[in-house]
């Protein structure tokens, strides 16, 4: 893996306007009022989501929003982001949290088909074949104003799988890899890894250096549980971590989560449209529309600081017939190898 030049968001650097600097640029005072996702701008898009708003629902797991849902049939069928659906599921319809059951799951696309006892307004899928890079894309929630807006960044492509990610930046320590930084919300932090810990073994296999540890972790898949031996203040401790998914080098991963959390399953998709909308992981699962209000896809992952993914409408339509068959009678859709999130 190539090292990237621009690295971690970690040093504080001075960028003060030097007294001697001659002014040749128009000064614009810092302000977020004119940001792309400021309320006023999003409100301009209200008419665009009028059509899909009634079909956009909230899915909760144990009472907490984990995904949006897209209603696809009048008799209570909705699509949601499968890997976020752990716990007691409800779908909010007309302000009421109604119990939902999982009919089936297309793991390779991370889409789950849920059934709820309610009459819904299904979406009409539009044409995702005629997409221009740079065109507006709008993400609806259940409110009048869109959740967020963005543009298409990259047209349809396959997203390969990723290797496991612990979430530390490392140096060489005595007989192990020394932890220099722990990524907030990462597998490492959740496992209790601390700065200055020296990681000496993973699953009983000695990791004598930074490189050895990195190679060992790379060999693991996201979702894998690993046992980590650390030396902290001279004492040996054993920690258990569930690996997350990595987008690249550890340093890239640190920067990637600076501006907000990412979806647990954010890679290994057969086909997605990449857009620059800043979404929360729990805002995936709902419809993505173009400026004409046509549904071009379903948001499926917050994949990085610069990227969100949507499954194109035609791909969704293609898997629906199989998805509607009850799980037991259906040959398992191609399992997404090692990429399923840990349960």
């Amino acid at each position: 893996m190539k090292k990237l030049t621009a690295i971690i968001g970690a040093a504080i650097v001075t960028l003060a306007l030097g007294a001697a600097a001659h002014v040749y640029a128009q000064n614009v005072r810092p302000s977020l009022e004119t940001a792309k996702n400021a309320e006023a701008l999003r409100a301009t898009f209200k008419p665009v989501i009028e059509g899909v708003r009634p079909s956009t629902l909230v899915v909760k797991a144990d009472g907490r929003q984990v995904s949006l849902a897209t209603a696809i049939e009048k008799d209570g069928l909705v699509l949601a982001k499968a890997s976020e659906l752990t716990g007691k599921l409800t779908v909010t319809v007309n302000g009421k949290d109604l119990p939902a059951t999982t009919v089936n799951t297309a793991r390779e696309h991370d889409l789950a088909l849920l059934k709820v006892d309610a009459t819904l307004t299904p979406v009409t899928f539009g044409d995702a074949k005629k997409i221009n890079v740079g065109q507006w894309v709008v993400t609806s929630g259940s409110g009048e104003t869109p959740l967020a807006v963005g543009v298409v960044s990259v047209n349809r492509r396959k997203i390969p799988g990723r290797s496991g990610f612990l979430g530390v930046s490392l140096g060489d320590g005595e007989n192990g890899a020394k932890v220099l930084q722990v990524v907030p919300e990462s597998a490492a932090e959740k496992a209790g890894v601390e700065v200055d810990d020296v990681i000496t073994a993973v699953n009983g296999k000695a990791t004598k250096s930074r490189d050895e540890l990195i190679n060992t972790i790379r060999g693991q898949a996201p979702g894998d549980k690993v046992k980590i031996d650390v030396i902290r203040d001279g004492e040996k401790k054993e920690l258990s971590a569930t690996l997350a998914s990595s987008a690249g080098s550890p340093r890239f991963d640190v920067a990637n989560v600076l501006s907000g959390p990412l979806s647990r399953r954010a890679a290994d998709f057969p086909a997605v449209i990449q857009h620059d909308t800043v979404l929360r992981p729990s805002e995936c699962g709902g419809p993505l529309v173009n400026i004409d209000g046509e549904v071009i896809g379903i948001n499926i992952a917050r994949a990085g600081r610069t990227e969100s993914y949507a499954i194109p409408s035609d791909v969704v339509l293609g898997i629906l017939p199989n998805l509607k068959k009850p799980a037991a009678t259906q040959p398992t859709s191609q399992p997404a190898k090692s990429t399923a999130p840990a349960k």
Binding site: T5, A6, T14, T44, F252
Partner: protein, 342 residues
């Protein structure tokens, strides 16, 4: 007088210093001509018609600019760049090339790999220049100017986030100008490593900035103003390396607090915090004005940085802050700045 955003959590700090570069004498080359922004698309769209107009302009900019956007493969470093002349001058960020007179390669948007050479660098402002050495006529973009930038002006960013990937063309992002001065342009075009050196365009397709660094929030993305390239073109084209201290690691403390501050008449005002960073863990909040670090008065972001240099990672420092008019004491355990930073 308020200094905007004086201290940043920045990406991309690394700059290799001190290489002699008096070897080659270069023909004087003048910078390509610049074009003003006309910006007929409305800054504040009032309705769907305005939004469609913006969309049309963005799609046009993407089509015109994509072929001139390149990946820069500079040894251990990788970034982006943009071709600005038919004979292959390429603008990038200073920290991408990191030193003058290096032989590197570029990957064009169509996948072609070409040989190139690094030229001058302004370390202070993070500008850098490259010339393609393979003979040819290259697709290029026109240089714009920062003279008439407006708050909220729409801008398009291209680049190779995460580094060059064969199956993925340069990645498009849209944003607006949120701040600008002679040293930097801030937008909400989201950037990440690998984008460094990539182009920022106005809706006429004129180049107005080069991606440089980011803050913690998705709305803090900093670009080098294009005017600095045109103003210092001769120095860059003569492979001069100058400036420094602003972005370089030399002056940056080895510890971090995880806080973005701005100038305030009484101290350093907290603008934002890194989630779960040392300052956030200590309970510091946006709006807090840092008055003292230890026993020393903090007059602003610069002083805060200077004072932090006295401490080591793991040390707990006492801050006196003004929170909504009340003076409070906060203890922050400083963390190490991650190693291997460039």
């Amino acid at each position: 007088m308020k200094k905007p955003f004086a201290a940043f959590w920045a990406l991309s700090c690394g700059l290799t210093l001190g290489v002699a570069f008096t070897l080659t004498t270069l023909a004087q080359t003048s910078a390509p001509a610049t074009r003003p922004t006309t910006n007929k698309a409305p800054i504040t769209p009032a309705n769907l018609a305005d939004l469609r107009l913006i969309q049309q302009r963005v799609e046009d900019v993407v089509k015109k600019s994509m072929p001139a956007t390149v990946a820069v493969m500079a040894g251990s470093g990788q970034g982006s760049g943009v071709i600005v002349s038919k004979d292959g001058w390429v603008l990038t960020a200073g920290h991408v090339t990191s030193e003058a007179n290096r032989d590197i390669s570029l990957i064009l948007a169509d996948g072609r790999r070409v040989k190139a050479r690094t030229y001058g660098i302004n370390l202070g402002i993070d500008s850098g220049l490259i010339k393609i050495t393979d003979k040819g006529d290259y697709p290029f973009v026109p240089l714009g100017t920062n003279k008439d930038m407006k708050a909220g002006q729409w801008v398009v960013a291209l680049g190779h986030p995460g580094g060059y990937r064969k199956e993925r063309p340069p990645v498009v992002r849209l944003g607006r100008v949120l701040m600008a001065n002679s040293r930097m342009v801030g937008t909400d075009c989201t950037l990440i490593m690998g984008d460094s050196g990539g182009p920022l365009f106005d809706l006429d397709g004129n180049l107005i900035g080069i991606h440089s660094r980011i803050g913690a929030q998705a709305t803090v993305n900093i670009h080098v103003p294009v005017d600095t390239y045109t103003q210092t073109w001769d120095r860059l084209a003569n492979s001069e390396t100058w400036g420094g201290g602003m972005l370089g690691l030399a002056g940056a403390p080895k510890v971090m607090m995880g806080v973005l501050t701005e100038e305030h008449e009484r101290g350093a005002k907290v603008v934002s915090l890194i989630d779960n960073g040392p300052a956030a863990k200590a309970g510091l909040k946006p709006g807090d004005i840092i008055l003292k670090l230890g026993e020393s008065a903090v007059k602003g972001p610069d002083e805060l940085l200077g004072l932090m240099g006295r401490y080591r990672a793991g040390e707990t420092v006492k801050l006196i802050v003004d929170r909504e008019g009340k003076t409070e004491e906060v203890s922050v355990k400083l963390a190490a700045r991650p190693a291997n930073m460039r």
